[in-house]
Symmetry: C2
Subunit: 277 residues, 2 copies
């Protein structure tokens, strides 16, 4: 039986070409896997992480989760496990990556397939918000006025089990049916408009398209009814934009009780093997 | 009578060698004055801003205030004044500087000499805090545990009218007597330790030395009594450090009612003409 580790981490996405490894590009996955290989003194090629939310280039994560299986024959003492997070953090000290915790994964845990839901946040500072220059790396600036109540209402009307093809970059063999569990807009203490969006899973570009639709409604370019009609048409549209990545952060991945991890993973794996997350 | 403008602004200090103009270095003052000269179409050499808080290299400001006098003969229409903030912001669009407001300064207003007090904040994320990689540009990271109640108590014991020579970089002819009006430590919703420090004015490096003293107490290297004794000795010390600039931000400058601006400015000018701020 190989040892599976659960890694809880956070990162500023600005300097990375996203989570997933790509040739000749700097990615979070590659930095993390190199740090793990160095710290555990195992060959780089034997370290393969599996992530809950494959974030795109420039997207941040505050509550990301991944797992990694130790190569056969490699064991960790409990003291080794207790120190591992600090050591991996040390190997990553030049990177804007925070290791929040490394723990033994419970039986049946799969970072990608076990989650019940994923939650993202998107931040837009409009003309009514404090424009904080310290927050520019993770907040979209806009000088336009927005119809904020209409954006709040759109969020409420969009939730539910639907085909989100109009909001997704198509991927062969992947379903675009998802249950959007919540979509709330609030203004924070600085007046920044913050969307919190949760779903069992998201198809590619879906969160940023959902925010783009709200921006179109907030600026009076689309009505709520038109957005709902676009969703029903199940075709990609140019009526709203995919919002830029730097306003987006994966904030939480929720897993079921340990006893239900394996069952949940099997269920999800059957539903959408070809999907991103 | 020349027209005096009050400018309320914010900036991320990381890319600047501080507020004040220095030859061959990038400074906030120089960027702002160039943007004003371009927008107002007046010669660069005729634009001279006077600031409330001369921030050091790397220090941020969220509530900075400065004033500028228009050259003789230059007038602004009320429409021109209403649009000026947006235009200057446009000229600064490549810079992490936010123009919050440009307004006509009331009679007697002096950005440097009229303030009643200035407030700074300092942020330290210790092992009990959320280590948010998006906040690293303005939060000092520390893996040590801190005796936080002792830091809170030190802050309370330090307030009052004292000679702060032990906390100041010496400057010829400048007094180091200041009234420290408040020094509060709280943990924010992420558990980050945030110091809020207010004084009528600060001598050079004083805020970062006050935080350094609290860190020494929090880590058990100095007692509160020892810090008080160091202050009484009125000599620079190596018993605590000047904290790094990126954790610090000028958050507010408070001015009196318009009717008291000139009187306050005259009072302050007499007290400390040779001082920084």
């Amino acid at each position: 039986m190989r040892t599976r580790l659960r890694i809880d981490l956070a990162y500023a996405g600005g300097g990375y070409s996203g989570w997933g490894i790509q040739p000749r590009l700097k990615t979070v996955q590659n930095e993390l896997e190199q740090a793990l290989a160095t710290t555990l003194r195992i060959d780089r090629s034997l370290v393969r992480t599996v992530v809950a939310g494959r974030t795109d280039a420039g997207v941040h994560a505050l509550g990301q989760v991944c797992h990694v299986d130790l190569p056969e024959g490699v064991e960790l003492t409990s003291a080794g496990l207790a120190n591992l997070g600090k050591k991996v953090q040390g190997a990553l000290r030049q990177e804007p990556i925070t290791i929040n915790r490394i723990s033994l994964a419970p039986e049946g845990f799969d970072a990608r397939f076990s989650p019940l839901w994923r939650t993202y946040q998107y931040r837009i500072a409009d003309s009514q918000a404090v424009n904080n220059p310290l927050h520019r790396a993770f907040t979209v600036q806009s000088t336009y006025p927005f119809d904020f109540p209409a954006m709040v209402e759109l969020g409420h009307q969009l939730v539910g089990l639907h085909d989100w093809a109009a909001f997704c970059r198509p991927r062969v063999g992947a379903t675009t049916i998802r249950e959007l569990q919540s979509y709330e807009w609030v203004r924070d203490h600085d007046g920044v408009m913050v969307a919190t969006i949760a779903s069992d899973a998201f198809c590619h570009s879906m969160v940023r398209a959902l925010v783009g639709a709200a921006v179109a409604v907030g600026r009076g370019k689309l009505t709520i009814a038109q957005v709902l009609a676009i969703r029903e048409a199940k075709q990609r549209t140019s009526d709203f934009v995919i919002m830029p990545p730097h306003g987006l952060a994966l904030v939480r991945v929720a897993y079921p009780e340990d006893s239900e991890l394996a069952e949940r993973a099997a269920l999800t794996r059957n539903k959408r093997a070809a999907d991103p997350d």
